[in-house]
């Protein structure tokens, strides 16, 4: 197969994003000349201060925003709109409050026209994967923040995307829930082998999760440095290796 020599699944090629204010084009530059690549099944995290354009970058990869200059290629094809090859998890879950857990998970497959029996089978499987058995008929408001994010992950996986985009998915959770969600995410990632592009401003979260970390600088957003995290999983957050990375990344950000 030809595809097999395409090692880089995602190619971000000199992307610049300016936001225009009204008609005047003296817009604020959120991203400036960003280039990086991501391999298949890699877990990559973009880290940076708030306002460094990391969420904007993710939205461009998702196809929700279009770059002012440059392009994003997925398996060699330029991104113009959202597609089922990319799933997304939003910061505040973005779950539809009017649908039950099941309804949310089946939303995507239903849009695609998947038959009801298949859909139910799929949602049952995913609810099992994210450990939410018994919550099928509940509404998002009846769930805790951590449970909501599990549903959001299951909903994104229901489209069977090859790439999972996660925009500060655990940002609104308390510390303990956040940590258990991190290991949960690694378990899910290892069991279904997806490419993950994760955005966070927590350096520790990035080190704990990622194969590779891309550090963004702010105003405008630029790639400052990349780090390959060569520590075996599961990683100990208090270990010497982790602390060493932490200091290096902390320095890169500041």
């Amino acid at each position: 197969m030809i595809c097999e020599d395409v090692k880089n699944e995602v190619i971000v090629d000199r992307v610049t994003k300016k936001f225009s204010k009204g008609k005047v084009d003296d817009g604020f530059e959120a991203l400036s000349n960003i280039s990086f690549t991501i391999e298949k099944n890699e877990f990559v995290t973009i880290v940076g201060r708030s306002g460094c354009g990391k969420s904007t970058m993710l939205n461009i990869i998702a196809g929700l925003l279009s770059p002012t200059e440059g392009k994003v290629l997925i398996n060699g094809k330029p991104v113009t709109e959202p597609g089922s090859d990319r799933g997304m998890v939003f910061q505040n879950s973005g779950l539809f409050p009017w649908l039950t857990v099941e309804g949310n998970i089946e939303f995507g497959p239903k849009n695609k026209g998947m038959a009801k029996i298949e859909r139910q089978k799929l949602s049952k499987e995913l609810i099992g994967l994210v450990n939410l058995e018994g919550c099928e008929k509940k509404y998002p408001r009846e769930l805790s923040g951590g449970m909501q994010q599990r549903v959001a992950i299951a909903r994104a996986l229901a489209m069977d995307p090859q790439i999972l985009l996660m925009d500060e998915p655990f940002g609104a959770l308390d510390q303990l829930t956040r940590e258990s969600m991190q290991s949960e995410l690694l378990r899910i990632w290892e069991s279904c082998k997806k490419t993950v592009i994760f955005v966070t401003h927590s350096i520790m979260e990035a080190i704990y999760l990622s194969d590779r970390i891309i550090v963004f600088s702010s105003n405008p957003g630029r790639v400052r440095k990349e780090f390959k995290i060569n520590i075996h999983r599961p990683r100990q957050k208090s270990s010497v290796n982790v602390m060493k990375y932490y200091e290096e990344i902390y320095e890169a950000i500041n």
Partner: protein, 270 residues
């Protein structure tokens, strides 16, 4: 579970207070009338009102036009006018709320039209449509339309961008986006408009029925004025109040049925 019982107790004592207040008011009014402090021509006693209500139910007022006929006429007018306003207001609101240009164009028009008191349009409507059912129904529609329209527009404009983005990422096409994301997301706000519109419909109906008809709850009140039957006036007021309350309860039931998710938290905490 304990919380449930505790809350039931609270509900019970709350109900006792609610009903108690009404009972006290009735007793005080009755006593004031009996002692002669309240003139029967200015404020009828509760017993008189009760007799008047019985009269409206059995004999009818004017004779032959019983409560059922009054109710039927008013209900029909309200339902037709209200539904017409909803049928126009909700789709138009969804459309305007989604379009920046339409919103900018329509805002001054809507603000102007909303500021015109519905009743002041009565002469105009009579000139256009005569003293007919059409005039009455359209006037109710006019009153309800703006409330429903503005709330629907706001409902659409306030939709969390995350829902729209999630819809896009999950492959919703335009139709799916409209019916499965935008509409349900705007529904709670749409229902607020629908609820306020019930009140508006009642304000308009009474005034509208005061002209050119003897049938309808508003007409009942107007006729009683001609006969100096103030007891019938108050009886009519009470009947309208009860009917309005009844409609609000029905609307809330419908809302709970259509939007169970908007109530789920309350239900859980209860």
């Amino acid at each position: 579970m304990r919380r449930l019982i505790k809350n039931k107790k609270i509900n019970l004592s709350e109900n006792i207070i609610k009903i108690g207040t009404v009972v006290v008011i009735i007793i005080v009014l009755e006593l004031l009338s009996r002692v002669g402090l309240l003139s029967p021509y200015k404020m009828p006693s509760p017993t008189q009102i009760l007799i008047a209500i019985r009269e409206v139910i059995s004999v009818g007022f004017p004779k032959g036009v019983t409560i059922l006929l009054h109710l039927k006429a008013t209900v029909l007018r309200i339902i037709q006018g209200y539904l017409l306003a909803a049928v126009i207001g909700i789709p138009a609101g969804l459309l305007i709320g989604r379009s920046y240009i339409l919103d900018r164009i329509s805002t001054p028009v809507i603000t102007f039209a909303r500021s015109v008191a519905t009743i002041s349009l009565l002469p105009l409507f009579i000139a256009w449509f005569g003293i007919t059912e059409i005039s009455r129904i359209l006037l109710i529609s006019y009153g309800c339309l703006w409330v429903i329209l503005t709330n629907t527009i706001q409902g659409v404009k306030q939709i969390d961008i995350n829902y729209i983005n999630a819809g896009k990422v999950l492959g919703a096409n335009k139709r799916q986006m409209f019916f499965k994301v935008l509409l349900p997301a705007a529904l709670p706000r749409i229902f607020i408009g629908l609820r306020v519109a019930v009140g508006v419909a009642f304000m308009v109906i009474v005034a509208v029925e005061m002209i050119g008809t003897v049938v309808g709850l508003g007409a009942l009140i107007q006729q009683s004025r001609f006969y100096y039957s103030i007891d019938i006036t108050v009886a009519g007021m009470i009947l309208i109040g009860i009917f309005g309350l009844f409609l609000s309860v029905i609307l809330e039931r419908i809302e709970r049925f259509i939007l169970p998710w908007a109530f789920s938290l309350e239900e859980v905490e209860r």
